[in-house]
Subunit: 401 residues, 2 copies
């Protein structure tokens, strides 16, 4: 029995409520001039107040040294081992545009590309066409029905799109058509097992049809496919935790990830106050809220230390709107670190703060990387956060007699 099985066997529903507030890319690295990270630089009186009452620590989303992408980082936060629970590329792409992949669907990442008169690929990205052109071309290809299977085509960005094959009897174990270099013909889609032959045939017919439909659309006169994958069929948080969970996230990717683990997704406005207001509005309806805040990560990715500081301060300032809700368990953390000086995700463990009536508060007086080092949670694995939140909400029964 793994830990998730154990949690499933011990969890029970109660009236207490858990809030998981994720500041994307929260963890940082010190600015060389000041020796302080973004979080240490930010003025965060409200988070610090929570840190005093709560228990703090650091968590590794995957394992020490591993830099997580957004999907594995969030799966870990939801208590799903991100090495075991994989999301295929096509499904992730669909998730990123808030397309609800259904059980039985197969999603593939598509590129518009350019082929010459002999069918040889001359540009794998079709000259990086505009978003508008991509949308227009997707409309040409969308909603075809091939041998009883519907093919739904949605634009992503530039030359990228998603195709979702929907209908009976599809299995995603087929190879890519993208030859990965120019000067070659697109590959036929081939099945890796007998169950996938149907999908391979339909995908090949779709590609032939696309070539005809796009003939006059040079430079985007052909498509390439990669990463066919099915709805991953993850166990639901409702099943594992007996929770009625909701996601409040402005960005499609995070709504999509939440949906894959069985959360309802609630519409919200762009600011953190909007997110908190949405929680307030639905507070009676759900007992678990995943709140996602993107600007911390976006600023980190841009290498903008000061903007990341301000993004953190913005959350801190609005925090009383959330804490006014008389919360049972509040967790504040990130899905990974995004230090501005690295301009990207990193492997550094993420600060975490857990506040509840039963959390066994530690000596940490402010919420920061260096304080969290000395926190009562120590250095934990991110998949342990949900069990800790559940325990603090008194939603886990005793194991064994």
């Amino acid at each position: 029995m793994d830990t998730q099985e154990l949690i499933r066997s011990l969890s029970h529903s109660t009236s207490s409520k858990i809030i998981l507030l994720v500041l994307d890319g929260l963890g940082g690295l010190p600015q060389p001039e000041t020796g302080k990270t973004e979080l240490e630089t930010a003025s965060t009186p409200n988070l610090d107040k929570l840190a005093i009452k709560g228990v703090c620590g650091l968590s590794d989303p995957i394992a020490p040294g591993i830099t997580p992408g957004s999907a594995p980082g969030h799966l870990a936060l939801f208590g799903y081992d991100p090495i075991r629970y994989e999301i295929g590329r096509g499904v992730l792409e669909a998730t990123g545009i808030d397309f609800a992949v259904q059980p039985g669907d197969v999603a593939a990442r598509g590129n518009f590309c350019t082929v010459d008169g002999n069918g040889l690929v001359t540009d794998r990205r079709a000259g990086r066409i505009s978003d508008e052109k991509c949308t227009e071309l997707c409309q040409i290809l969308d909603r075809q029905h091939i041998d009883g299977i519907e093919v739904i085509v949605r634009p992503v960005r530039g030359h990228r799109f998603v195709a979702v094959f929907r209908g009976e009897g599809l299995s995603p174990e087929v190879n890519d058509s993208d030859p990965q270099q120019v000067g070659l013909l697109p590959l036929d889609i081939t099945a890796r097992n007998i169950e996938s032959v149907k999908l391979a045939n339909i995908a090949n017919k779709f590609i032939s049809s696309a070539r005809e439909l796009l003939a006059e659309q040079n430079p985007a006169n052909m498509v390439l496919f990669r990463g066919f994958s099915g709805e991953p069929g993850f166990p639901s948080m409702k099943d594992i935790y007996k929770l009625n969970p909701a996601a409040v996230a402005g960005y499609p990717m995070y709504r999509g990830l939440a949906r894959l683990v069985g959360m309802d997704t609630l519409d919200t406005g762009p600011g953190i106050s909007d997110v908190f207001a949405t929680v307030k509005e639905y507070y009676e309806k759900y007992d678990f809220f995943f709140l996602h805040y993107k600007p911390t990560d976006a600023a980190g990715e841009d290498g903008d230390f000061d903007r990341k500081v301000k993004a953190i301060e913005e959350v801190d300032e609005a925090l009383p709107e959330l804490t006014a809700l008389d919360l049972d368990v509040l967790v504040v953390t990130g899905d990974h670190s995004t230090p501005a000086i690295l301009k990207g995700h990193s492997w550094h463990p993420v600060p975490i703060l857990l506040s509840s009536k039963f959390c066994r508060a530690d000596d940490v007086k402010n919420f920061s990387e260096s304080s969290c080092v000395k926190g009562g949670l120590g250095r934990i694995s991110t998949v342990d956060i949900m069990p800790l939140a559940m325990a603090n909400a008194l939603k886990l029964k005793k194991f064994g007699a």
Copy 2:
């Protein structure tokens, strides 16, 4: 997929360089009079300077409470789960005398012993003959060819030697000939499966031949074998990490262990300055250096607290010769603890210090067990050290999108 597989899928080669400086048996226990460990007693201004800039912690080589031998301790440092990656006794013995066991070889640990006129074992250690006598007897037995298999015999120490069976079609699943007590006949070597019958036959022929060749060599007139084992076929560090790794180690055991994971071994002199000079000499050629320093462990094993303190100070004094090399990532740690008051290896977690531009420095101001407790790395598993070093060298790509 386990963590090592994950690392393999994420690692890529860059120009940055990693130094892993292993002070064997570094961790200690306080001298009752002073309350300070060996490392805390030693004057270590250079290590302390690194600790201030770096991040510290404690690591468990195997698991809390488990005392590691040299082989598991080092495998963990190299990022190989020491419970999963086993080295057979014969191969370990060969490794300890710097004998390069090749794929297909089978190595066995041998004892010279004494048998009486009826062939019954009267002394399993042949009166503990001298190293010189052992060498002489090994020369008598060495380089026999039996049914197309070459048997290479090398002295270890006293009554101990290694026999390596080299040739086609050998499989090491055979039982020992050592009856483990006196008054019994040596056992015939028996195969545990059909593949190993050939080795069993050849080993029995070798034993018969040895009895004849040693007939006049009382008390060392017979041999006993234990621990037949093959070259373990570990994945190479080159493959897992895309590193070009080198070991700088004076002791044969550590060169041997490094060789089993695919490191080149560089000749070096006896002192730590020699080791550092060797790194300098080869600095352009390799991107990973494992440096091994034995005197800390040797002093601990002897129960010589003061000598262990001096051994640590010797490294500290020479350290600027190493740090002058403008290192990207430097890790200083041990393979296990060897507290002088225990006169042997122990289970205590080992201090670790990691220094790099991106390490997220903590508040630790000196390198010691008690300071490392409060370090930013927390308490990690030793197998996590290589991923952390790789991450800090920016040699690991992001996991997932």
